[in-house]
Amino acid sequence: MTVIRFANVSKEYPRTGVALHDVSFNVNKGEFVFLTGPSGAGKSTILKLIYFDELPTRGDVWVSSTRSKGVSRKEISLLRRKLGVVFQDFRLLEDRSVEQNIAFALDVIGTPQDKIHAKVSRLLGQVGLSSKATSMPRELSGGEQQRVAIARALANDPVVLVADEPTGNLDDRATRGVFQLLREINAAGTAVVMATHNLDLVKRAELRVLEINRGAIVYDTDDEKRRTPELTP
Protein backbone atom coordinates (compact mmCIF):
# COMPACT_ATOMS: atom_id res chain seq x y z
CA MET A 1 0.00 0.00 0.00
CA THR A 2 1.30 3.42 -0.98
CA VAL A 3 1.51 6.02 1.79
CA ILE A 4 3.40 8.70 -0.14
CA ARG A 5 3.02 9.44 -3.81
CA PHE A 6 4.75 12.21 -5.74
CA ALA A 7 3.36 12.62 -9.27
CA ASN A 8 5.39 14.92 -11.54
CA VAL A 9 6.01 17.33 -8.71
CA SER A 10 7.76 20.62 -9.36
CA LYS A 11 8.47 23.24 -6.75
CA GLU A 12 9.52 26.81 -7.38
CA TYR A 13 10.27 29.19 -4.56
CA PRO A 14 9.42 32.86 -5.10
CA ARG A 15 12.98 34.19 -5.03
CA THR A 16 15.29 31.24 -5.57
CA GLY A 17 13.37 29.65 -8.42
CA VAL A 18 13.17 25.93 -9.25
CA ALA A 19 13.96 23.64 -6.29
CA LEU A 20 12.38 20.46 -7.64
CA HIS A 21 11.68 19.53 -11.22
CA ASP A 22 9.24 16.83 -12.23
CA VAL A 23 9.83 14.46 -9.34
CA SER A 24 7.84 11.20 -9.15
CA PHE A 25 8.17 8.37 -6.63
CA ASN A 26 6.11 6.26 -4.24
CA VAL A 27 6.77 5.13 -0.70
CA ASN A 28 4.95 2.07 0.60
CA LYS A 29 3.61 1.47 4.05
CA GLY A 30 6.38 0.39 6.40
CA GLU A 31 9.19 1.26 4.00
CA PHE A 32 12.49 2.93 5.02
CA VAL A 33 13.80 5.42 2.49
CA PHE A 34 16.97 7.51 2.55
CA LEU A 35 17.12 10.81 0.70
CA THR A 36 20.70 11.66 -0.15
CA GLY A 37 22.42 14.25 -2.27
CA PRO A 38 24.46 17.39 -1.94
CA SER A 39 23.37 20.37 0.07
CA GLY A 40 20.78 22.43 -1.83
CA ALA A 41 19.70 19.41 -3.89
CA GLY A 42 16.10 19.58 -2.72
CA LYS A 43 15.91 16.98 0.07
CA SER A 44 14.33 19.27 2.63
CA THR A 45 11.93 20.52 0.01
CA ILE A 46 10.74 16.96 -0.65
CA LEU A 47 10.25 16.41 3.09
CA LYS A 48 8.35 19.70 3.44
CA LEU A 49 6.09 18.60 0.63
CA ILE A 50 5.45 15.35 2.52
CA TYR A 51 4.26 17.10 5.66
CA PHE A 52 2.53 19.78 3.58
CA ASP A 53 4.65 22.61 4.89
CA GLU A 54 5.02 23.50 1.23
CA LEU A 55 2.66 22.71 -1.61
CA PRO A 56 3.82 21.79 -5.11
CA THR A 57 3.91 24.42 -7.82
CA ARG A 58 3.01 21.72 -10.35
CA GLY A 59 2.06 18.09 -10.00
CA ASP A 60 0.45 16.40 -7.06
CA VAL A 61 1.45 14.94 -3.71
CA TRP A 62 -0.62 12.32 -1.90
CA VAL A 63 0.20 11.42 1.68
CA SER A 64 -1.99 8.85 3.35
CA SER A 65 -5.34 9.85 1.79
CA THR A 66 -4.67 13.60 1.58
CA ARG A 67 -4.02 15.21 -1.79
CA SER A 68 -2.12 18.47 -2.19
CA LYS A 69 -4.41 19.83 -4.87
CA GLY A 70 -7.09 21.98 -3.20
CA VAL A 71 -6.12 20.93 0.32
CA SER A 72 -7.45 23.09 3.17
CA ARG A 73 -5.56 24.25 6.26
CA LYS A 74 -7.77 22.05 8.36
CA GLU A 75 -6.98 18.97 6.24
CA ILE A 76 -3.28 19.73 6.58
CA SER A 77 -3.62 19.81 10.38
CA LEU A 78 -5.46 16.50 10.36
CA LEU A 79 -2.86 14.93 8.05
CA ARG A 80 -0.06 15.98 10.39
CA ARG A 81 -1.65 13.95 13.13
CA LYS A 82 -0.74 10.89 11.08
CA LEU A 83 2.85 12.04 10.61
CA GLY A 84 5.86 12.53 12.81
CA VAL A 85 8.56 15.04 11.91
CA VAL A 86 12.06 15.43 13.36
CA PHE A 87 14.78 17.90 12.47
CA GLN A 88 18.50 18.32 12.76
CA ASP A 89 18.02 21.01 15.45
CA PHE A 90 15.53 18.97 17.56
CA ARG A 91 13.13 21.91 18.06
CA LEU A 92 12.31 21.23 21.67
CA LEU A 93 10.73 23.80 23.97
CA GLU A 94 13.67 24.86 26.12
CA ASP A 95 11.54 26.04 29.05
CA ARG A 96 9.81 22.68 29.53
CA SER A 97 11.02 19.38 30.82
CA VAL A 98 11.38 16.29 28.67
CA GLU A 99 8.01 14.89 29.74
CA GLN A 100 6.33 18.28 29.33
CA ASN A 101 7.65 18.52 25.79
CA ILE A 102 6.04 15.20 24.93
CA ALA A 103 2.86 15.92 26.90
CA PHE A 104 2.56 19.18 24.98
CA ALA A 105 2.20 17.29 21.71
CA LEU A 106 -0.30 14.87 23.22
CA ASP A 107 -2.29 17.78 24.63
CA VAL A 108 -2.37 19.54 21.27
CA ILE A 109 -3.88 16.54 19.51
CA GLY A 110 -6.54 16.23 22.20
CA THR A 111 -5.33 13.21 24.17
CA PRO A 112 -7.48 12.89 27.32
CA GLN A 113 -5.66 14.27 30.36
CA ASP A 114 -5.77 11.00 32.28
CA LYS A 115 -4.12 9.14 29.37
CA ILE A 116 -1.26 11.57 28.88
CA HIS A 117 0.94 10.52 31.75
CA ALA A 118 0.92 6.82 30.86
CA LYS A 119 1.53 7.58 27.20
CA VAL A 120 4.47 9.87 27.98
CA SER A 121 6.02 7.09 30.08
CA ARG A 122 5.55 4.57 27.31
CA LEU A 123 7.10 6.89 24.70
CA LEU A 124 10.06 7.70 26.95
CA GLY A 125 10.58 3.98 27.50
CA GLN A 126 10.47 3.40 23.75
CA VAL A 127 13.28 5.90 23.10
CA GLY A 128 15.24 4.78 26.18
CA LEU A 129 14.93 7.97 28.22
CA SER A 130 12.73 6.90 31.13
CA SER A 131 15.30 8.19 33.61
CA LYS A 132 15.38 11.67 32.07
CA ALA A 133 11.69 12.49 32.27
CA THR A 134 12.10 15.56 34.46
CA SER A 135 15.31 16.84 32.88
CA MET A 136 15.35 20.05 30.91
CA PRO A 137 16.47 19.82 27.27
CA ARG A 138 19.70 21.74 27.88
CA GLU A 139 20.70 19.13 30.46
CA LEU A 140 20.70 16.42 27.78
CA SER A 141 23.24 15.39 25.15
CA GLY A 142 22.43 15.97 21.49
CA GLY A 143 21.57 12.32 21.00
CA GLU A 144 19.21 12.38 23.98
CA GLN A 145 17.55 15.57 22.78
CA GLN A 146 16.96 13.96 19.41
CA ARG A 147 15.39 10.98 21.16
CA VAL A 148 13.01 13.34 22.94
CA ALA A 149 12.11 14.88 19.59
CA ILE A 150 11.52 11.38 18.19
CA ALA A 151 9.33 10.47 21.17
CA ARG A 152 7.32 13.62 20.52
CA ALA A 153 7.02 12.71 16.84
CA LEU A 154 5.73 9.27 17.85
CA ALA A 155 3.03 10.76 20.07
CA ASN A 156 0.69 10.70 17.07
CA ASP A 157 1.31 7.00 16.33
CA PRO A 158 2.36 8.17 12.89
CA VAL A 159 2.03 6.24 9.64
CA VAL A 160 5.08 8.08 8.31
CA LEU A 161 8.06 9.49 10.18
CA VAL A 162 9.85 12.28 8.32
CA ALA A 163 13.40 13.01 9.48
CA ASP A 164 15.44 15.86 8.05
CA GLU A 165 19.12 15.17 8.80
CA PRO A 166 18.24 13.82 12.25
CA THR A 167 21.87 12.86 12.94
CA GLY A 168 23.39 15.98 11.40
CA ASN A 169 24.37 17.43 14.78
CA LEU A 170 25.38 14.16 16.44
CA ASP A 171 28.67 12.31 16.95
CA ASP A 172 29.12 8.79 15.58
CA ARG A 173 27.93 6.97 18.64
CA ALA A 174 24.80 9.08 19.04
CA THR A 175 24.21 8.78 15.29
CA ARG A 176 24.25 5.00 15.48
CA GLY A 177 21.90 5.07 18.47
CA VAL A 178 19.38 7.38 16.84
CA PHE A 179 19.53 5.45 13.58
CA GLN A 180 19.01 2.19 15.46
CA LEU A 181 15.95 3.77 17.11
CA LEU A 182 14.57 4.80 13.71
CA ARG A 183 15.06 1.23 12.46
CA GLU A 184 13.11 -0.10 15.43
CA ILE A 185 10.30 2.34 14.80
CA ASN A 186 10.30 1.28 11.16
CA ALA A 187 10.27 -2.38 12.12
CA ALA A 188 7.10 -1.69 14.11
CA GLY A 189 5.37 -0.62 10.88
CA THR A 190 6.00 3.11 10.49
CA ALA A 191 7.36 4.24 7.13
CA VAL A 192 10.47 6.39 7.59
CA VAL A 193 11.78 8.95 5.12
CA MET A 194 15.15 10.25 6.23
CA ALA A 195 17.29 12.87 4.54
CA THR A 196 20.97 12.49 5.37
CA HIS A 197 24.50 13.40 4.41
CA ASN A 198 25.94 10.40 6.16
CA LEU A 199 26.89 8.10 3.30
CA ASP A 200 28.50 5.56 5.63
CA LEU A 201 25.22 5.04 7.33
CA VAL A 202 23.40 4.75 4.01
CA LYS A 203 25.83 2.24 2.54
CA ARG A 204 25.86 -0.07 5.53
CA ALA A 205 22.11 -0.07 5.97
CA GLU A 206 21.18 -1.57 2.60
CA LEU A 207 17.87 0.24 2.49
CA ARG A 208 16.14 2.07 -0.32
CA VAL A 209 17.98 5.22 -1.36
CA LEU A 210 16.67 8.12 -3.42
CA GLU A 211 19.55 10.25 -4.58
CA ILE A 212 18.59 13.83 -5.32
CA ASN A 213 20.61 16.29 -7.34
CA ARG A 214 19.57 19.74 -8.53
CA GLY A 215 15.95 19.11 -7.82
CA ALA A 216 15.64 15.75 -9.55
CA ILE A 217 15.88 12.08 -8.54
CA VAL A 218 19.07 10.87 -10.15
CA TYR A 219 19.08 7.41 -8.62
CA ASP A 220 16.57 5.12 -6.93
CA THR A 221 17.75 1.72 -5.65
CA ASP A 222 14.21 0.46 -6.21
CA ASP A 223 14.50 1.06 -9.95
CA GLU A 224 17.68 -0.98 -9.94
CA LYS A 225 15.93 -3.83 -8.17
CA ARG A 226 13.21 -3.68 -10.73
CA ARG A 227 15.78 -3.84 -13.52
CA THR A 228 17.49 -6.82 -11.92
CA PRO A 229 14.56 -9.02 -10.89
CA GLU A 230 16.80 -11.90 -9.77
CA LEU A 231 17.59 -9.85 -6.63
CA THR A 232 13.98 -9.74 -5.52
CA PRO A 233 12.78 -12.82 -3.69
Binding site: R73, L78, R80, R91, L93, D107, V108
Partner: protein
Amino acid sequence: MRLAVREALLGFRRAPMLSMLSITTIAFSLFAFGLFSLVALNIRSTLSAMESRVEIRAFLSDSTTPESIAAAMGDIGGFKEVARVEYITPEQALERARLELGEFKDVFEAGFLPASLDVRMREGYRDPETVKKVADRVKVYDFVDDVRYGEEWVQKLYSIRNVATAAGIILGLAFAAVSIIVIGATIRMAVMARSREISIMRLVGATDGFIRRPFLIEGLVKGVLGGAFALLLTRVASSLISRYFIQTEFFDTRLALLGLLGGAVIGVVGSALSVGRQIRRVQ
Protein backbone atom coordinates in the same frame (compact mmCIF):
# COMPACT_ATOMS: atom_id res chain seq x y z
CA MET B 1 -8.78 23.19 27.35
CA ARG B 2 -6.42 23.04 30.31
CA LEU B 3 -3.56 23.74 27.94
CA ALA B 4 -5.41 26.73 26.52
CA VAL B 5 -6.01 28.22 29.96
CA ARG B 6 -2.40 27.61 30.95
CA GLU B 7 -1.17 29.30 27.78
CA ALA B 8 -3.52 32.21 28.38
CA LEU B 9 -2.20 32.76 31.90
CA LEU B 10 1.32 32.53 30.57
CA GLY B 11 0.42 35.41 28.28
CA PHE B 12 -0.25 37.65 31.28
CA ARG B 13 3.06 36.78 32.84
CA ARG B 14 4.96 37.32 29.59
CA ALA B 15 3.61 40.82 28.98
CA PRO B 16 2.25 42.21 32.23
CA MET B 17 2.49 45.87 31.20
CA LEU B 18 0.69 45.39 27.90
CA SER B 19 -1.89 43.20 29.57
CA MET B 20 -2.55 45.88 32.17
CA LEU B 21 -2.77 48.47 29.41
CA SER B 22 -5.33 46.35 27.55
CA ILE B 23 -7.38 45.90 30.69
CA THR B 24 -7.20 49.61 31.50
CA THR B 25 -8.26 50.78 28.07
CA ILE B 26 -11.13 48.30 28.07
CA ALA B 27 -12.07 49.63 31.50
CA PHE B 28 -11.95 53.24 30.29
CA SER B 29 -14.07 52.38 27.31
CA LEU B 30 -16.70 50.80 29.50
CA PHE B 31 -16.31 53.52 32.13
CA ALA B 32 -17.18 56.12 29.50
CA PHE B 33 -20.19 54.05 28.49
CA GLY B 34 -21.03 53.47 32.13
CA LEU B 35 -20.72 57.03 33.35
CA PHE B 36 -22.93 58.38 30.64
CA SER B 37 -25.38 55.53 30.95
CA LEU B 38 -25.56 56.40 34.62
CA VAL B 39 -26.44 59.99 33.73
CA ALA B 40 -28.97 58.79 31.22
CA LEU B 41 -30.39 56.26 33.66
CA ASN B 42 -30.83 58.82 36.41
CA ILE B 43 -32.34 61.39 34.11
CA ARG B 44 -34.66 58.74 32.87
CA SER B 45 -35.85 57.75 36.30
CA THR B 46 -36.34 61.43 37.18
CA LEU B 47 -38.24 61.87 33.99
CA SER B 48 -40.43 58.88 34.53
CA ALA B 49 -41.19 60.02 38.06
CA MET B 50 -42.29 63.31 36.59
CA GLU B 51 -43.82 61.81 33.55
CA SER B 52 -46.30 59.88 35.63
CA ARG B 53 -47.53 63.33 36.55
CA VAL B 54 -47.35 64.63 33.02
CA GLU B 55 -50.66 65.90 32.09
CA ILE B 56 -52.20 68.31 29.72
CA ARG B 57 -54.37 70.84 31.35
CA ALA B 58 -56.98 72.43 29.11
CA PHE B 59 -58.56 75.51 30.67
CA LEU B 60 -62.20 75.89 29.79
CA SER B 61 -64.10 79.12 29.20
CA ASP B 62 -66.74 79.89 31.82
CA SER B 63 -69.65 79.50 29.45
CA THR B 64 -68.90 75.85 28.50
CA THR B 65 -71.96 73.62 28.78
CA PRO B 66 -71.77 70.34 30.69
CA GLU B 67 -72.85 68.53 27.47
CA SER B 68 -69.88 69.80 25.45
CA ILE B 69 -67.59 69.00 28.31
CA ALA B 70 -68.92 65.45 28.50
CA ALA B 71 -68.62 65.04 24.72
CA ALA B 72 -65.05 66.37 24.71
CA MET B 73 -64.11 64.09 27.60
CA GLY B 74 -65.47 61.13 25.63
CA ASP B 75 -63.49 62.12 22.54
CA ILE B 76 -60.23 62.82 24.29
CA GLY B 77 -60.56 59.78 26.51
CA GLY B 78 -60.73 57.73 23.30
CA PHE B 79 -57.31 58.85 22.06
CA LYS B 80 -54.91 55.93 22.18
CA GLU B 81 -52.26 58.11 23.89
CA VAL B 82 -54.59 59.10 26.72
CA ALA B 83 -54.98 57.19 29.95
CA ARG B 84 -57.59 59.29 31.73
CA VAL B 85 -59.46 62.58 31.43
CA GLU B 86 -60.66 64.34 34.54
CA TYR B 87 -62.89 67.37 34.90
CA ILE B 88 -61.67 69.81 37.50
CA THR B 89 -64.20 72.36 38.74
CA PRO B 90 -63.03 75.86 39.78
CA GLU B 91 -63.59 74.82 43.39
CA GLN B 92 -61.35 71.77 43.04
CA ALA B 93 -58.73 73.87 41.28
CA LEU B 94 -58.77 76.27 44.18
CA GLU B 95 -58.49 73.46 46.67
CA ARG B 96 -55.53 72.02 44.82
CA ALA B 97 -53.79 75.35 44.53
CA ARG B 98 -54.22 75.87 48.25
CA LEU B 99 -52.74 72.46 48.98
CA GLU B 100 -49.77 73.03 46.72
CA LEU B 101 -49.07 76.55 47.85
CA GLY B 102 -50.07 76.13 51.48
CA GLU B 103 -48.90 79.39 52.96
CA PHE B 104 -50.53 81.52 50.31
CA LYS B 105 -53.94 79.91 50.62
CA ASP B 106 -55.62 83.15 51.54
CA VAL B 107 -54.61 84.73 48.25
CA PHE B 108 -57.05 82.64 46.30
CA GLU B 109 -60.72 83.24 46.08
CA ALA B 110 -63.43 81.09 44.63
CA GLY B 111 -63.94 81.76 40.95
CA PHE B 112 -60.44 83.01 40.53
CA LEU B 113 -59.30 79.80 38.82
CA PRO B 114 -61.02 78.45 35.70
CA ALA B 115 -62.35 74.93 35.33
CA SER B 116 -60.11 72.56 33.40
CA LEU B 117 -59.84 69.16 31.80
CA ASP B 118 -56.77 67.30 33.09
CA VAL B 119 -55.51 64.74 30.60
CA ARG B 120 -53.16 62.02 31.77
CA MET B 121 -51.01 60.27 29.21
CA ARG B 122 -50.61 56.58 28.92
CA GLU B 123 -47.16 55.17 29.66
CA GLY B 124 -45.00 55.15 26.57
CA TYR B 125 -46.72 58.24 25.22
CA ARG B 126 -45.24 60.69 27.67
CA ASP B 127 -42.40 62.06 25.59
CA PRO B 128 -42.56 65.77 24.74
CA GLU B 129 -43.45 65.25 21.10
CA THR B 130 -46.46 63.04 21.69
CA VAL B 131 -47.65 65.26 24.50
CA LYS B 132 -47.44 68.28 22.23
CA LYS B 133 -49.36 66.46 19.50
CA VAL B 134 -52.17 65.52 21.85
CA ALA B 135 -52.20 69.04 23.30
CA ASP B 136 -52.63 70.43 19.81
CA ARG B 137 -55.60 68.16 19.26
CA VAL B 138 -57.14 69.27 22.54
CA LYS B 139 -56.63 72.90 21.60
CA VAL B 140 -59.06 72.68 18.67
CA TYR B 141 -62.20 72.75 20.85
CA ASP B 142 -63.70 76.29 20.85
CA PHE B 143 -64.32 76.22 24.58
CA VAL B 144 -60.71 75.47 25.36
CA ASP B 145 -59.12 78.80 26.18
CA ASP B 146 -55.62 77.65 26.82
CA VAL B 147 -53.61 74.46 27.06
CA ARG B 148 -50.62 73.93 29.36
CA TYR B 149 -48.30 70.99 29.27
CA GLY B 150 -44.71 69.79 29.71
CA GLU B 151 -42.49 72.36 31.29
CA GLU B 152 -39.44 73.62 29.48
CA TRP B 153 -37.02 71.89 31.78
CA VAL B 154 -38.52 68.51 31.00
CA GLN B 155 -37.50 69.23 27.46
CA LYS B 156 -34.08 70.20 28.75
CA LEU B 157 -33.64 66.98 30.71
CA TYR B 158 -34.50 65.10 27.57
CA SER B 159 -31.83 66.87 25.59
CA ILE B 160 -29.27 66.37 28.36
CA ARG B 161 -30.09 62.70 28.28
CA ASN B 162 -29.63 62.59 24.53
CA VAL B 163 -26.32 64.44 24.72
CA ALA B 164 -25.14 62.15 27.53
CA THR B 165 -26.08 59.09 25.51
CA ALA B 166 -24.31 60.38 22.40
CA ALA B 167 -21.21 61.42 24.35
CA GLY B 168 -21.12 58.05 26.09
CA ILE B 169 -21.38 56.17 22.84
CA ILE B 170 -18.74 58.25 21.07
CA LEU B 171 -16.23 58.22 23.94
CA GLY B 172 -16.93 54.57 24.67
CA LEU B 173 -16.40 53.60 21.04
CA ALA B 174 -13.20 55.65 20.89
CA PHE B 175 -11.81 53.85 23.93
CA ALA B 176 -13.04 50.53 22.59
CA ALA B 177 -11.13 51.21 19.37
CA VAL B 178 -8.00 52.07 21.35
CA SER B 179 -8.33 48.93 23.43
CA ILE B 180 -8.76 46.81 20.32
CA ILE B 181 -5.56 48.33 18.92
CA VAL B 182 -3.70 47.67 22.17
CA ILE B 183 -4.99 44.10 22.28
CA GLY B 184 -3.85 43.65 18.68
CA ALA B 185 -0.36 44.84 19.58
CA THR B 186 -0.30 42.56 22.62
CA ILE B 187 -1.25 39.58 20.53
CA ARG B 188 1.34 40.41 17.93
CA MET B 189 4.00 40.31 20.61
CA ALA B 190 2.57 37.25 22.28
CA VAL B 191 2.50 35.37 18.98
CA MET B 192 6.13 36.29 18.34
CA ALA B 193 7.11 35.22 21.85
CA ARG B 194 5.33 31.91 21.34
CA SER B 195 6.27 31.35 17.72
CA ARG B 196 8.31 28.28 18.65
CA GLU B 197 5.41 26.71 20.49
CA ILE B 198 3.05 27.63 17.70
CA SER B 199 5.21 26.06 15.03
CA ILE B 200 5.51 22.87 17.07
CA MET B 201 1.76 22.86 17.60
CA ARG B 202 1.37 23.16 13.83
CA LEU B 203 3.82 20.37 13.25
CA VAL B 204 1.96 17.90 15.44
CA GLY B 205 -1.36 18.82 13.87
CA ALA B 206 -2.99 21.60 15.88
CA THR B 207 -5.73 23.36 13.96
CA ASP B 208 -5.83 27.16 13.63
CA GLY B 209 -8.81 27.15 15.97
CA PHE B 210 -6.85 25.34 18.63
CA ILE B 211 -3.88 27.68 18.30
CA ARG B 212 -6.18 30.70 18.45
CA ARG B 213 -8.03 29.52 21.55
CA PRO B 214 -5.58 30.61 24.29
CA PHE B 215 -5.39 34.07 22.75
CA LEU B 216 -9.17 34.36 22.73
CA ILE B 217 -9.37 33.15 26.32
CA GLU B 218 -6.74 35.70 27.26
CA GLY B 219 -8.82 38.39 25.54
CA LEU B 220 -11.94 37.20 27.32
CA VAL B 221 -10.27 37.30 30.72
CA LYS B 222 -8.84 40.77 30.06
CA GLY B 223 -12.22 41.96 28.88
CA VAL B 224 -14.05 40.71 31.94
CA LEU B 225 -11.38 42.17 34.23
CA GLY B 226 -11.66 45.47 32.34
CA GLY B 227 -15.43 45.33 32.74
CA ALA B 228 -15.14 44.71 36.47
CA PHE B 229 -12.66 47.58 36.79
CA ALA B 230 -15.04 49.84 34.88
CA LEU B 231 -17.93 48.87 37.15
CA LEU B 232 -15.80 49.74 40.15
CA LEU B 233 -14.91 53.14 38.66
CA THR B 234 -18.52 53.83 37.82
CA ARG B 235 -19.62 52.79 41.29
CA VAL B 236 -17.11 55.18 42.87
CA ALA B 237 -18.18 57.98 40.53
CA SER B 238 -21.81 57.28 41.36
CA SER B 239 -21.28 57.50 45.11
CA LEU B 240 -19.20 60.66 44.76
CA ILE B 241 -21.99 62.26 42.78
CA SER B 242 -24.53 61.06 45.34
CA ARG B 243 -22.49 62.49 48.17
CA TYR B 244 -21.65 65.88 46.69
CA PHE B 245 -24.34 66.63 44.12
CA ILE B 246 -27.56 64.74 43.85
CA GLN B 247 -28.80 61.34 44.91
CA THR B 248 -28.17 58.92 42.06
CA GLU B 249 -29.23 55.37 41.52
CA PHE B 250 -26.70 52.73 40.42
CA PHE B 251 -27.09 50.02 37.80
CA ASP B 252 -29.09 46.98 38.73
CA THR B 253 -27.47 43.55 38.48
CA ARG B 254 -28.66 43.07 34.94
CA LEU B 255 -26.99 46.27 33.70
CA ALA B 256 -23.84 45.50 35.70
CA LEU B 257 -23.63 42.08 34.07
CA LEU B 258 -24.13 43.78 30.74
CA GLY B 259 -21.00 45.80 31.54
CA LEU B 260 -18.97 42.64 32.14
CA LEU B 261 -20.39 41.17 28.96
CA GLY B 262 -19.39 44.35 27.11
CA GLY B 263 -15.84 43.89 28.36
CA ALA B 264 -15.84 40.26 27.30
CA VAL B 265 -17.03 41.24 23.83
CA ILE B 266 -14.35 43.92 23.40
CA GLY B 267 -11.67 41.50 24.64
CA VAL B 268 -12.69 38.63 22.42
CA VAL B 269 -13.42 40.71 19.33
CA GLY B 270 -10.16 42.61 19.75
CA SER B 271 -8.26 39.34 19.98
CA ALA B 272 -10.14 37.64 17.18
CA LEU B 273 -9.48 40.56 14.84
CA SER B 274 -5.72 40.16 14.99
CA VAL B 275 -4.92 36.62 16.09
CA GLY B 276 -5.84 34.91 12.82
CA ARG B 277 -3.56 37.13 10.79
CA GLN B 278 -0.74 36.89 13.33
CA ILE B 279 -0.68 33.13 13.71
CA ARG B 280 -0.64 32.61 9.95
CA ARG B 281 2.70 34.39 9.87
CA VAL B 282 4.22 31.62 11.97
CA GLN B 283 4.97 28.49 10.00
